[in-house]
Symmetry: C2
Subunit: 449 residues, 2 copies
């Protein structure tokens, strides 16, 4: 047994569900399905019930198990009725549950110590005819159920545990990592966890896999895995280039030196204000934080908006010469755009280039505009008129505190929140963030792949 | 009479030599030529004597007149003998003169209140067969003498006076403006001063003129005037793009509003230290001066070396993020590289990008190099490894004072001078320059086209 096997065997013993867990889960799931079928039978429309997701396929990581049960309605049922009937079944099966909302409202509750989601969807012909994203899920489960056996399911579980450990598991729009379905397809395609890592180690994006050989369009993503149930869909569409690169790094590192720590998500101690101040002193940068109440949105909407806003602010700071070394966004009730500037102040004047002297109309217009003003110049540099004129805002803080901040490309809800008011922290003032975002700041000031 | 004529008539009365000046000059020149011919007749080789330059062609600006007399020797005469015979004739004609050195040594002196240059050259077949640059001059004079009359000579004088007034006259390597020969060709080609300005106003470089229609190569200059005596030579090769642009500006301005001031070279009062300090305060920049003893070179060698050195220093400051707003070089015994920085200090760390994570050998090398070091990271950004590592020099001053300054592209003699020692002034310290370079600084802080 080589080191790789020794390490993964130890990990498998912990993360692969044992027989007792499997049996308990199977019993509970069967009861939920039976109850849902009984409740569906009372409806005035036809509906069938299917169990989906990793617990239906035996690929969940031990202890991390939701029972997902879908109720499928005829495709011609109006959406409102689908939602009403779906909730009726959900409430009948999970009387203590509560409603949540994804594509449709659905009921979430517990049964026998397991989380249960009861979700309505349309029983479409095939996955290319879906009316909402959840309609696709039963096809995924059917596809994988046919191909997975106990051994490959165990390889999937190990792989998921690894992806979680190195921080790239989860297709939510904050993580932008690997979904369960994507992971299962990759493990099947490669033939196991080790073969998957060996393949990843050789990846040179863009990487394209097409298990069914039926791709029906071009994709422009770092990793493309064409959905076996839909030739127009890339299962890895949401995966970021950074997460692909991170996985390549960790695959290489683990193959070179298998370590059980790779399966343990990083969980740093929160950074305190003093430690943060020491970092700032050592770095010599000028950090700024724009702090405001986080818009009331689910994470899948909030984080893309924060990222977009951060990128708008960074872009404009860079254009204004307040060069940004690194930036990050944090949210937890409060939202923060954190930017670390290399330059916090520019001169009171800036060079402003006019047209080439011989572009007659423009040139005389430019010259006339500045000739009698306060600017230095116009003078001739190379073939152009140039002036050195007063800058709008000479410090990054002035700009961040001005209404001009709202002119950059921001997420809609972030723009609204900023219009209602925000606060700018500069330099050591930003260490106040440590109280709320100590863990995020610990990661920021000790960045790793 | 329109305003243009009114203004130029007034100027002409002042700058065009009157009959008395012409006669005195002609008489003196004839005597110099006769004396030179007599001295040449005593030599053991054949030699003839020609008067060249603007005073030979009647195109000098009043009061600004050198008599240039060339002694032409057979092309097969060894260079050393040409120099020896040339000096013999020179000393015979100008017993009180002294030797100077351009392509060859020659004698400079005075006669009847005029400066006289007595220069040896080779009597080559035509201007394409020259052995040294001065051999070309008699051909230029012959070409122009055939084509100039009193009227066009007067137009040339006006044009020269204008080019002097706006600061673009002189083909020395400090000015990089219009030579006398170039000016005369342009006035002949256009048909007078006003027509020249009208043409210039419509210039859109690159502009190419070829009076004899015989260009024998491509030129890559903003203004090309193919030498009528040499199809491979651009008479305007030394002219800078900036001076072309400046002339376009002034031609337009003068045609729109003829003003006698256009003919008066700008002669600002020297800036004093207090006024300079006020400018620096208003601009909010951080100026630096690198001050050292000027290398002992003629201006045509010194200024190109200073410009090259300035450009090397500016380029490296920019690369290091000490963004240079404007820069200039001054020399007068002391030499100065003056750079005005927008940023004088950067953080103690800088972002350093590694290879894409999947470029295996390079990537592992980069990761291994920094993984256990002091740098922040390596982490993954997009597809690359990145570290934030200590910078070499965090302030512009540190860099300017370090030996690294000598690693940039410098003029040879400047590099030598800097190796012997230099001084760096920063911020208000640079106002000490006003004592020596007040006029240059007055121009710098009141830049005009």
């Amino acid at each position: 047994m080589d080191e790789f096997e020794a390490v993964t065997e130890g990990v498998a013993a912990r993360v692969v569900p044992d027989d007792a867990e499997r049996e308990r889960l199977a019993r509970t799931a069967a009861r939920v399905v039976a109850d849902a079928e009984a409740a569906a039978a009372d409806l005035p429309v036809e509906a069938d019930v299917v169990q989906v997701g990793s617990t239906a396929r035996g690929t969940w990581v031990s202890g991390d198990r939701d029972i997902d049960v879908f109720v499928r309605f005829p495709p011609d049922l109006p959406r409102r009725e689908l939602e009403r009937y779906g909730l009726e079944v959900g409430r009948a099966v999970l009387p203590d549950g509560h409603e949540e909302y994804a594509e449709h409202p659905y009921v979430k509750g517990t049964r026998g110590g397991f989380e249960v989601d009861l979700v309505p969807c349309y029983a479409v012909e095939d996955a290319t005819a879906i009316q909402s994203a959840v309609d696709r899920t039963p096809f995924h489960t059917a596809y994988l159920a046919e191909r997975l056996d106990d051994d490959s399911a165990e390889e999937v579980v190990l792989t998921k545990a690894f992806l979680k450990g190195v921080g790239v598991y989860g297709s939510d729009l904050r993580t932008r990592g690997f979904s369960g379905y994507l992971t299962e397809l990759l493990v099947l395609e490669c033939g196991g966890f080790r073969a998957f890592l060996e393949a990843v180690r050789r990846w040179h994006p863009p990487v394209e896999l097409d298990p069914e050989g039926h791709a029906a369009r071009e994709f422009d993503d770092p990793l493309v895995v064409v959905d076996p149930t839909d030739p127009e869909r890339n299962v890895a569409a949401v995966l970021s280039a950074g997460n692909v690169a991170r996985l390549v790094h960790h695959a290489r590192a683990f193959l070179d030196e298998p370590r059980v720590e790779a399966f343990e998500p990083r969980d740093p101690d929160p950074l305190d204000a003093d430690a943060m101040a020491a970092h700032l002193e050592r770095r010599g940068t000028t950090p700024f934080a724009v702090r405001f109440p986080a818009p009331d949105l689910v994470d899948d909407q909030l984080y893309p908006q924060l990222e977009k806003s951060l990128s708008g602010v960074v872009g404009e700071l860079d254009r204004r010469g307040f060069d940004v070394l690194r930036a990050a966004t944090f949210a937890d009730g409060t939202a923060v755009l954190f930017v670390e500037c290399e330059v916090a102040e520019r001169p009171r004047i800036a060079r402003h280039e006019g047209p080439p002297v011989w572009v007659d109309r423009h040139a005389t217009g430019f010259y006339g505009k500045y000739a009698d003003g306060d600017a230095y110049g116009p003078f001739v540099d190379g073939e152009r008129y140039v002036v050195e004129r007063e800058r709008g805002r000479a410090t990054a803080r002035e700009w961040l505190e001005s209404d001009d901040l709202l002119d950059v490309s921001l997420g809609v809800a972030v723009a609204e929140a900023l219009r209602d008011g925000y606060e700018v922290l500069e330099g050591e003032e930003t260490t106040a963030l440590a109280a709320e975002f100590g863990v995020e700041l610990a990661r920021y000031f000790d960045p790793r792949p």
